[in-house]
Amino acid sequence: MSITRRGMIGTAAATLALPALAQPRYPARPVQVIVPWGAGGGTDATARIVAALLEKELGQPFNVVNRTGGSGVVGHAAIAGAQPDGYTIGMITVEIAMMHWQGLTELKPTSYTPLALMNEDPPGIQVNVSSPYQDIKALADAIKASPAGRFKASGTGQGGIWHLALAGWLGAMGLRADHVRWVPSNGAAPAMQDLAAGGLDLTTCSIPEARAMLDAGRARSLAIMAAERNPQFPNVPTLKEALGIDYRTGAWRGIAGPLNLPAEIARTLTASLEKVNRSGEFREFMANRGFGVLWADAAGFAAFMERADQSLGEAMRAAGLARA
């Protein structure tokens, strides 16, 4: 067989292509981390620290990309619709277990390959510092004694996680979900401002979100809807301690990839995420902001989301917010 130039080039190309046949160690190039919420917010900040620590762990750049819009639908859809090759993952939040009940999207927690649960923030119950109710018992009694709709609460938009938190708490006390009227707001910060301005009776956003107002002495946190007290705010009792009601919920965040991610890649990511979660740097960052750290591996995260999906669906139906 004569050696033609074409043959030489073909052989050279094949030789150069050989490394591609051998599976490279994952990750072999930069990975994109999609965040469905805006730059500078809590979810964005958490995603960025996780990405930076993953980069240290795995040696490749993990770039955070904000894909905002549709109250989170756009970003969550981007994560679900990406190529399942491990080079696009994202941070998914509690909204994924709520949006489909509202009929906003078909996406559910099962539309993803869960990798790890990283954080959960339970809601607190805050009042204005000059409120006549100095502890949660007084507030609860006053709410029970008042006619429906007299008390006004806020913390996020209509149907948001903190609205459901209020509805769940009222339900646990044997009241109707709308006994306290919900005033929608554009997030926790405007709600806390309105609380300080005297426009609301209480807010049910998370304590870290209320922190600046609490530190400024404008508001007081009466209780936290969690299993145990937040070490950052040790004076705030849990609902169970103060009222005997074991109601808890929270806004959580975790890392996930599109469905059908190769098992090997998923295992690598979960293992690295575990190291990140347990690292001093991550814990220090979260403690500084007062965010709650939680850990669950892929299977744990899947089970967690399943439970959350069911209970949030129930809560939404009870509050009259479900549409699906």
Partner: protein, 498 residues
């Protein structure tokens, strides 16, 4: 005192100074490119701040945003394409000055009074932060509603030709702001099942489309205008002292209005610029000159929007409540760097607070030389053939609208609004009023509905609360003033002078 010295030491660190210089240049350049906005510039800085020291990180955000708000005036003046929604309030005025050959006076006014406004705003932050914060905290949804409504009324006050068409534009803008799920009920409106519309129409793509893209379309249909005579761009600062002396009252009025509006979370530079421009026209001794290329409106509005930027940091630093998207991003950075907003920032970390003040003042001072350089470079655009400039603008618009949310849908929006803006302008409907409607629409509706929820459907609290009552009175005065003037004129005519 030692805290102050410590602050100077913090700011004097080489990495902070380099950060200020670099981000100032970055903010100037990005703000002056049509299609790229101050918000986008700040958002893109966030990954960079991760690697910087705390003071340097905050310094970049402060410097970049202050510069970008000013440099948004440059393309507005030279090309009639505002770089930020705040500049849209007086773009027509500035452009008219350019056509009269007074471009450097317009830009100089923008630069000088922006710097003045920024410094006065910073002084208010330094001296009166607690007082301003008290005022901000006393604003509930009732007050916000009247304020937003007053802001909307400004559209009519600045209408050049027909106030009816201005109101119609504003109403179209309000309709556009209805789209999406960002309403008090959390129900999708006008989304037609399209996921991307769930978040509603962002003001930046609409602004970019309505001004930049429609301007490009207009350029395509008209013949190239005769090239402006080549003259050296005169000294930018030359006439500014004279302007300062002549328009002292408007300048101070602009500063004060800007500070007050900036302090209120949710009301930012955009609203400050509009309200100040309208006030300028309303209280001017030469209102008929407005719209023909008159610097008075630029003085007041330019000072106002930069002052509001500085005072907008009051609620951010004291309570972690963002005034607008830029301060929201800044708060995120503060948290990440351990400079948690709140009273502890003023007590335990006072040196960091003083450092922030110094950075503010420094940024506004170096705005002047850097701004002059930027203006000179930008003025070269006036000489370039239109066929070279327009495609670059379209490219920047596409890139800018994509970059904020990494969403191709924004680019599509820019195109759609370009067409809408072109058609509107063709028929004499001022597009700036439409942008105002889009910007303010959510604020008006949100506050109206939540106020009604809180008052259980009772409209009385809108007029009972003291600040509400004052704002309501101002709004009705603004509404009824033209009617009152008209009636007075009729009466005067029917009772001839004896």
């Amino acid at each position: 005192m030692s805290q102050l010295l410590e602050a100077f030491r913090l700011v004097g660190a080489p990495d902070v100074l380099i950060a200020i210089l670099a981000s100032s240049i970055y903010g100037l350049v990005v703000g002056s490119l049509p299609g790229l906005s101050a918000t986008m510039a700040t958002a893109l800085l966030v990954p960079v701040t991760f690697y910087l020291s705390p003071i340097a990180a905050v310094a970049t955000i402060i410097a970049a945003s202050a510069m970008a708000i000013f440099s948004g005036d440059i393309p507005g003046c030279l090309l009639r394409i505002p770089g930020t929604p705040a500049s849209a309030a007086y773009t027509d005025e500035a452009y008219a000055m350019t056509r009269k050959g007074q471009a450097e006076l317009a830009l100089g006014a923008g630069l000088w009074f922006s710097a003045v406004g920024g410094i006065v705003g910073t002084l208010s932050l330094v001296l009166m932060a607690p007082l301003l914060a008290e005022m901000a905290l006393s604003f509930s949804t009732f007050e916000y509603f009247w304020l937003a409504f007053l802001g909307l009324m400004c559209a009519t006050l600045v209408a050049r030709s027909s106030p009816i068409k201005a109101i119609a534009s504003m109403l179209i803008g309000l309709l556009v702001s209805c789209i999406g799920i960002e309403n008090p009920a959390g129900t999708p409106r006008f989304t037609f099942g399209i996921t991307d519309l769930l978040g509603g129409i962002e003001p930046i793509p609409a602004l970019v489309g309505v001004f930049a893209v429609s301007e490009v379309m207009r350029a395509m249909t008209l013949a190239e205008p005769p090239p402006m005579p080549r003259r050296k761009f005169g000294s930018i600062l030359a006439g500014q002292w004279a302007l300062t002396k002549r328009y002292q009252w408007p300048m101070w009025r602009g500063n004060i209005v800007g500070i007050i509006i900036g302090v209120l979370p949710g009301a930012g530079a955009d609203m400050a610029a509009w309200v100040s421009y309208a006030m300028s026209k309303r209280f001017s001794r030469e209102p008929e000159k407005f719209g023909t290329g008159h610097p008075e409106g630029l003085v007041e509005a330019g000072a106002s929007n930069n002052a509001s930027l500085a005072s907008g940091w009051v609620p951010s630093l004291l309570f972690g409540i963002p005034g607008d998207t830029i301060t929201a991003i800044a708060i995120g950075v503060l948290y990440m760097k351990g400079l948690n907003p709140g009273p502890t920032l003023f007590t335990e970390r006072a040196s960091s607070m003083y450092a922030l003040y110094i950075i503010f003042i420094l940024a506004n001072i170096i705005m002047i030389p850097l701004g002059i350089a930027m203006i000179r470079i930008a003025s070269l655009v006036l000489r370039a053939p239109r066929a070279a400039v327009m495609p670059v603008i379209v490219l920047l618009c596409a890139v800018g609208s994509f970059a904020t949310g990494n969403n191709l849908f924004s680019v599509l929006l820019v195109g759609v609004f370009g067409v809408i803006g072109f058609v509107m302008e063709r028929n004499g409907y001022p597009v700036a009023a439409m942008v105002l409607g889009i910007v303010m629409g959510t604020m008006v509706e949100q506050n109206f509905v939540t106020s009604l929820i809180k008052s259980d459907g009772d409209p009385l609290p809108f007029f009972e609360r003291p600040v509400s009552a004052v704002l309501a009175a101002m709004t009705f005065a603004a509404l009824l003033w033209p009617a009152g003037v008209w009636i007075a004129r009729r009466l005067r005519r029917s009772a001839p002078a004896l």
